[in-house]
Symmetry: D2
Subunit: 284 residues, 4 copies
């Protein structure tokens, strides 16, 4: 695909934002290849994502950012510009369950996901062979449940060393420490099962089975300090019946989980997700 710059911005809504942005682009000869806008009247906020054909612009990425900066300032924008030719570096974290990891690796292998995967980190060694087949380094960082700090120190240092842009918790069953979440805001993506109604505590599929629910689902969200409560990127459900035992629900849940995680990650990689407070605008 042709190289593109992606301008993502959010700011208080007022007259003239689109005009100013599109003038800026067209006055430099840039063509808008895709654009989405959203005004949320309930909060008076404006969101925009613009894809610009990079080849026609007289700017490199840094120069473009510098040129756009005054406009951004005058509208009090939260903004970023990314370059589609620089794929994001995605560090995958897993535990023992392989379904999400295997799915993401396959999509990466088949070039469906536009990213780099510099390494996989796991607190178990089980998935090494699967990962190394893709020529991706696998780091087994065991966790001592009475002293998790050394584990997280090592994880943090690996994430830094590999210069991660995104961290995907692909059924990594540990709660990330606050400091790590804070250092990577809106860059840590998690997947977890979801039910109607919700179930707290252990063995949620067994609880859902006992309750006789007819749908099970999954939610892909950014990780914040509130466990499983960060901004939602995507969700989906699958129909079940009384015939499905907890182990069937787990199996069906795996399919929903991996599909929702892959869709959510794809949106993130294409800079389609804008976060405002605890909710997202997803331009897809």
């Amino acid at each position: 695909m042709e190289r593109r710059y992606r301008l993502i911005l959010a700011c208080p809504d007022r007259v003239g934002i689109v005009a100013m942005v599109s003038n800026f682009i067209s006055s430099h000869g840039g063509s808008i290849t895709d654009a989405n806008q959203h005004s949320d009247p309930s909060i008076g906020w404006f969101f925009m994502r613009v894809e610009i054909g990079a080849v026609m612009l007289p700017f490199e990425l840094d120069a473009l950012k510098k040129a756009f900066s005054p406009i951004a300032q005058s509208f009090e924008m939260q903004w970023r510009i990314t370059d589609s030719s620089k794929p994001k570096r995605v560090v995958l974290m897993a535990s023992r369950e392989s379904h999400c990891l295997a799915d993401l690796l396959y999509r990466f292998h088949s070039k469906e996901l536009s990213c780099e995967i510099p390494c996989v980190i796991s607190n178990h060694d089980d998935l090494r062979k699967m990962v190394e087949w893709h020529d991706i380094p696998y780091h087994h960082v065991p966790v001592d449940k009475d002293n998790k700090q050394p584990h997280f120190d090592k994880v943090t240092s690996l994430i830094k060393e590999y210069q991660a842009d995104v961290i995907v918790l692909a059924r990594y069953m540990q709660i990330l420490p606050y400091e790590l979440c804070d250092q990577y805001p809106q860059q840590v993506i998690n997947i977890h099962h979801s039910f109607l109604p919700s179930f707290a505590g252990a063995k949620p599929y067994h609880q859902a089975h006992d309750r006789g629910v007819k749908l099970i689902g999954a939610t892909c969200h950014y990780v914040t300090q509130d466990l499983d409560e960060g901004p939602i990127i995507d969700q989906d459900v699958i129909r079940i019946s009384h015939r499905d035992q907890p182990e069937d629900m787990v199996r069906l849940g795996r399919d929903v989980e991996k599909n929702v995680l892959a869709r959510g990650l794809r949106c993130h990689l294409e800079d389609r997700v804008l976060v405002h407070g605890n909710k997202t605008v997803v331009f897809n």
Copy 2:
């Protein structure tokens, strides 16, 4: 449709149940036109629903029950037999919102639901015209929020007077008193919105909007003394996006609610729902 008896039973699982039941039917010349069974190994319980061509059997309903009774006893069955030629009497209860009521009335009018609707009861008078167009009596029973007892006394007496087999809370926004729930176990059907995750308290659609959920849903369930916690009959969801304001979510939620309620009621009317503890087996 040809007249049928429906035998619904649940009992501790053991060898020979199906043989005994099907022998009983075939030895009297009855043909099984539809049958479903389910064993739940986690609780060691067996569930069955059999449709029997009534015309070939030498029994009227009462005689059939009497003839089957010894088998039922020997297997410690919870059971019932119904007659498809005797449609259930469904009392609808509503408040001001019309979407579920209008949908059920239309399905009744177009003969899609096989039942009688002897009356509609509401704590408001708003929907009278819509109901009376269908030649169904409409009872406006106002509720005094400081003293609800007279309201429920009147409602209970109407339900008895009209000999209701089923009571459908079609967005009737009052909590039924315990005594009424107890008198009609597994006969009071409710519909309520559902989200992933769940939201407690007022204005759930606004809460869901603030949380940025991507799916909204509805749950149809039997009413028990635990509000909104009875056995689930059916559920469904619809996809929403950041573009949907709370009022859009309410509108989309109405479509899910009415469809799920209609499907749930249909299953109930055809005796397809078996309740065990707090969960259902739905043979559809």
Copy 3:
């Protein structure tokens, strides 16, 4: 809702369209409350829909059109501007089946659809009572299958008399004559059942049953001279099983048909559907 103008346009893609349009709006003090754009690289064409807060603009609708006209010309735009305060006039046409008609009437009655329904036309008299309950004139225009011209002459004259902006074929089982289709391009909306694979000829649900399909669906589309082949507005499916006899499939198909038609009409009424050649861009 606050009054809005909606600008809908399509033109060959080139640099500066968004800038020009948004400049025009903001230079007159108008605020963009919603906007969607789409570039289709496979045809080199650009599509846009903009909602503008009408109260802030110094223009009435005609003056706005006049002011925008030079821009439209310079970009060779196909375009229109509509006024949300002037609801479209929707003439409904039906035959004997009531599900789509009843659903649209209910949504109109509950103010879910923003439109006027000046009359209903049918070749049968069956649905008169249902329509007249809504205080909408009902015109029974019988059709003689050996000479349909008088029927269509009368239908055409009613459509003109009632100044229809949109004609919805809500299970009107006649094929509209070419002349009528031509006079109302992209203004006649039809709903028809759809299957995977497709079935031609009579009794499609029976054909689908014989073929053992697992999904049945419906397609809402604009009517062109190619029967059932016009631009698609929306589609949906529902899952069925071997248990569903043709009559169950017809019943389930009704729910899909009415929901898809209502969604498609809603998009049309909000000017969210742009047609290019034989396909649509639906901004929802």
Copy 4:
């Protein structure tokens, strides 16, 4: 899972089938752990699938078949009995596209599919590394498009050599010769894309894109001599929009294809699919 026998039968419907079958089982001390029945009144035919706890029966598989044979004969049954402890041997056939193959291999690897995969056959060598990682033999059997007979001779001989019970065409892009289809009736499973409406000929996703369809789907079916026209096992669809270019549709279509194929194969492996004429009864 505990060892089970599965009895699958179809026969002309008449009184006493279930009684006879369940008597047979219970009189030998067998317990029915799952059972499904279906009567299709439109063809007067009866279908049944029974799972029997094998450990309690005094029969090995062959003895059980022999014992049941007289009953089967008296009811003119088409029938089979399988043993859940003898997983079916599934030969996978692929070409260059890896999505279905990779998905099935992963499900096999994670023990989600209860089967053996004795080998993979492909007319290209591309997927060898992926297959051999699973320690499964990979046979590259090139096809000469002017003389396909040697290819099919080799394929047939491999299928026989590996004693295939099932052949899955996991995006194997060749049309199997008649003789091979005939030798493996209801044992060759294919997956192909499906649309509403259908599109014949090359580049179906491009045709669907040009037509502006809003849903794309996939159909899993048994292969018969009528290409893409055999009995349907499962189908599903996914929603698309005008934003999706043909390459997006291909990508989204891959997800539907692999999910539907995996579900269809799972049903087949568990003996849940009964074929009658050109349609299936799927007990799931």
